[in-house]
Amino acid sequence: MRFWRSFRKKKTVKTDIYIMKFKKVLLNGLWNEMPPFKLVLGLCPALAVTSSAENGLGMGMATTFVLVLSNLVISLLRKVIPDKVRIASYIVVIATLVVIVEMLMKAYFFNLSQQLGIFIPLIVVNCIILGRAEAFASRNPAPLSVVDGVSIGIGYSISLTMIGIVRETLGAGTLFGVPIFWEGFEPFAFMVKAPGAFICLGVMLGLMNAYSRWRGEHLVQLQS
């Protein structure tokens, strides 16, 4: 009886620590290290394909798919891959997953893949994916790495969709393709062009940093 009680106690403490760890990793990507606002990585697609909310969401989903699977595979292989060729191995794994995403998109979401165009293959060189592989998946067990991939991926999708929503509503007067303004509304066409992307990202980044400072958080850039 005594043995049983101690066993149970031990187990709950252990699972509690585990759950806490998972929760921390899960929330990490949604605020503390949310790309591209907090973790200023993956800016190229964030600027290039967010001309509409739909494109932003599609790009975020494609990146999440690659990120989760690359984290899983790399974490499983982390003891097999020798240190000296780790970057090459990661790139091979990531490139394979990106080609898979590209083929799946062409087969099932053809129009979206036409709109995202070259930026789907370019997920290979997205710093977020290699960054998470190097910083997280190569040091943590597989379940935790998958959670990290999900968290960062969802954070990135939310960010891209948000930028897309702002740019699309102001630049085209629509939201997910549905007109939302009155008839005579003249959209600011420059918001869906390249300069609008820079301005939108800059303003949103500034607002988020101001909010973080108001909450008394340290900025990620200052910590390192």
Binding site: V92, T96, V99, A107
Partner: protein, 195 residues
């Protein structure tokens, strides 16, 4: 030494496994990707040339191989007889690469039905004007056995001579196929119909 061997073996194994996985997936998905491409890229052109919904026409496809070039050909049947063809060809000499066009041909009257642009990479706003109706409609009801030329049947778009010429090159390829290999194409279609 042992370490180097390990590096090579691990990296090679990873590459082999991933390449194998990709190949399996490619074989699985290829027909679907091709179907989607036909539906989304060629579908609208076909529907406008033949005046019928694209999904009825996409199954009527053969690929004609001539001089190391593949020509995708769609056909329309009426009462068991092939009445019109729509042939696609890529014209060399565009400003940003090949210009792929599709021309519909009425086999009974030996006239063209019209021209549609399938794919191009011409400069937006300059060469991309080959997509415009005013340029394309010049291909309506031309004799389908005569080569076309700039300045004769077709007026080039000013400022986009390269793009216009690429379209002309592609249409002459198509016209040559119909003129010289019509029987072979019809035999190919017959073979496909008979399974």
């Amino acid at each position: 030494m042992r370490e180097i061997v390990r590096l090579v073996v691990v990296l090679t194994l990873i590459c082999v496994v991933t390449a194998g996985a990709l190949e399996i997936l490619r074989v699985q998905l290829e027909p679907r990707i091709e179907m989607q491409e036909d539906l989304n890229v060629r579908g609208p052109a076909l529907a406008s040339l033949f005046g019928k919904p694209a999904d009825e026409l996409l199954a009527n496809k053969v690929v004609f191989h001539h001089n190391d070039v593949d020509y995708p050909i769609f056909y329309l049947k009426e009462n068991g007889e092939v009445t019109s063809l729509a042939i696609e060809a890529a014209g060399k000499g565009g400003y940003g690469g090949d210009v792929s066009i599709m021309i519909g041909i009425d086999l009974k009257r030996n006239r063209t039905l019209g021209m549609e642009i399938i794919k191009h990479a011409e400069t937006p706003g300059v060469g991309s004007r080959i997509e415009k109706e005013s340029f394309r409609k010049q291909w309506q009801k031309l004799p389908s056995t005569e080569d076309v030329a700039l300045g004769k049947q077709i007026a080039a778009i000013s400022g986009a001579t390269y793009s216009s010429r690429a379209a002309i090159n592609a249409s002459n390829q198509i016209i040559a196929q119909v003129r010289d290999s019509k029987d072979e194409i019809l035999a190919l279609i017959q073979k496909k119909e008979n399974g």
